[in-house]
Amino acid sequence: MAKTVLMKGNEALAEAAIQAGCRHYFGYPITPQTEIGAYLAKRMPEVGGVFLQAESEIAAIHMVYGASCAGKRAMTSSSSPGISLKSEGLSYLAGSDLPAFVVNVQRAGPGLGGIQPAQADYFQATRGGGHGDFRNIVLAPASVQEMASLTLRGFDLADRYNMTAMILTDGTIGQMMEQVTLESAEPTAFEKPWALTGTRCEREKHVITSLYLAPDELEQKNLSRFARYARVQRAETMVETYGMEDAEICLVAYGIAARVSKNAVAAARASGIRAGLIRPITLWPFPAEALANAAEHVRQFLSVELSMGQMIQDIELAIRCRRPVSLVSRVGGMIPTPEQVLLAIERVARGEAI
């Protein structure tokens, strides 16, 4: 039975992980994802699961690797500096085609940066985040409800495609409280015939490795991995549109920036400006088709980001630079107000530069 409660985004995500059947959490403390660890430290023992505070983010992601080798759903969560450390493990998970669930509650950088929200890890997340050719499925919730629903989805996607699913969110979505409806459906069961469960002296041994010393074999591995990625791109892209039927000015934003942008679009439309919003829910795969279609009637795109301009490159690629794209951004932990975004919309509506 579903129940509706008031929860912080990070807690909703943590509870959804439990609902998804995840019983193995490994993590290292960092703000602003603290509530995830705190919640699961209490909750995992209640459901017979494992909560383990690792010695570092590096150790935590490799513990996830180990638990995933055993065929179990496993997760780790962190924030920007910790995700940099996890990038080694992300690469090995990808090279070994193992499912994993990873959360980045982003904070401002670079370096130690600050603890206020940011979206400056977009490149890192959508390009894989470690060495070698690989991708993660990147999910960008814009509400506490989506922190829960995209977590459920993320575990399924990871298991379906044998790859990492990452929640890319920020301190605001992570720490704000909203109503959330938690489903209590049975988690989807996936066969994992490749898992390291011991041969029982009855079958051929299983080997999970990312090492392929023969270049032709390694090339084939990469090619088949990218064929799988192409299937993800075809089947799993998620996007929300708002006011796009007749939009001349199209805002593109995800996460907290999308919420601000939606308010600005509503205000603009109230004053007669034909603005609209495209909100990627998956950042990888990026909803390139929705953008390309929009470019047919949109005059000007605005990328609203809490970064110096990262997603804007994917927008330009998606529309093949057929229309101008401008950046509306705040960084360092600052969030643009709806008024700032509205001002930008009004300027471009008048044909002015922003």
């Binding site: 690797y65 080798c69 055993a70 390291l196 041969t199 002296c201 299983h206 490795t209 990312s210």
Partner: protein
């Protein structure tokens, strides 16, 4: 008369190790322990990054390969996810005592119920003979061409002595693979390290002093002799911690 047979837990694949390298002997001792305890069907091995990265070709076991130094973390994940399985990490000295020191120390401190076989050959074998954290004072390597100078490069890391200081681990011992006598006690120690896990006792690490004739620039025979003359005096053999022996006192 059959003098020796291949342990069942070993495959028939010929190893890629250099002539005179004792990695092969250590593999055999691990396989013999697994056979002796009858745990082949539920044992999972973790190969390191180093000369033994291909160890999965030589064991008849489910295996994975960890990133450089991370085997104890991978072992932790595997064991926590499936406590029924017997999990061991096989690691070199660069892997365990340099890049993976934190993972090793904390797995020991948590008393993870895993077995670690730590192969100390005082050098980075796979990458061509660079100085390891365990290279001896004065030892000539590719990256200490004038001999390891402690003022410049610091002192070797004595892993057993260090880990024995922790309250966590169950069993810490150092053995050597360079003579019949030493190999026999190595066999006992390795078997104990696996039995401890079967009995749920916790973290067991056996440091096995090993040879690298190729990168030491010695004949296989001289390498075994150098272990006796130089390595063992610096890294004394013995049991550094054994909680079950203490309980028996």
């Amino acid at each position: 008369m059959i003098v020796a047979t291949r342990p069942h837990a070993l495959t028939t694949a010929p190893t890629h190790y250099c002539p005179g390298c004792t990695h092969g002997i250590i593999h055999r001792l691990v396989a013999e322990a697994i056979d002796a305890l009858g745990i082949e069907g539920r044992t999972i091995g973790i190969a390191p990054v180093g000369c033994s990265v291909l160890a999965y070709n030589y064991f008849n076991l489910d295996m994975t390969v960890a990133a450089h130094g991370r085997a104890p973390a991978v072992a932790t994940g595997l064991k926590r996810a499936n406590p029924e399985s017997i999990v061991f990490a096989y690691q070199g000295d660069g892997d365990l005592a340099s890049i993976g020191m934190a993972e090793a120390v904390h797995a020991a401190a948590r008393n993870e119920n895993i077995t670690v076989i730590f192969v100390n050959n005082a050098i980075y074998g796979m990458t061509g003979g660079q100085m390891a954290p365990t290279s001896l004072p004065g030892q000539v390597t590719q990256t200490s061409p004038a001999g390891r100078d402690e003022l410049l490069c610091g002192f070797p890391v004595k892993v057993c002595e260090m880990l024995a200081q922790l309250d966590g681990p169950e069993y810490i011992a150092r053995v050597a693979a360079n003579s019949v006598k030493n190999v026999l006690s190595a066999k006992k120690a390795i078997e104990k390290a696996f039995r401890n896990q079967v009995e749920g006792r916790g973290f067991s690490l056996v440091e096995v002093l090993s040879s690298c004739p190729t990168n030491w620039g010695m004949t296989p025979g001289d390498a075994l002799g150098w272990m006796d003359s130089t390595m063992i005096p610096y890294y004394p053999l013995g049991v550094y911690k054994d909680r079950s022996a203490k309980e028996a006192d």
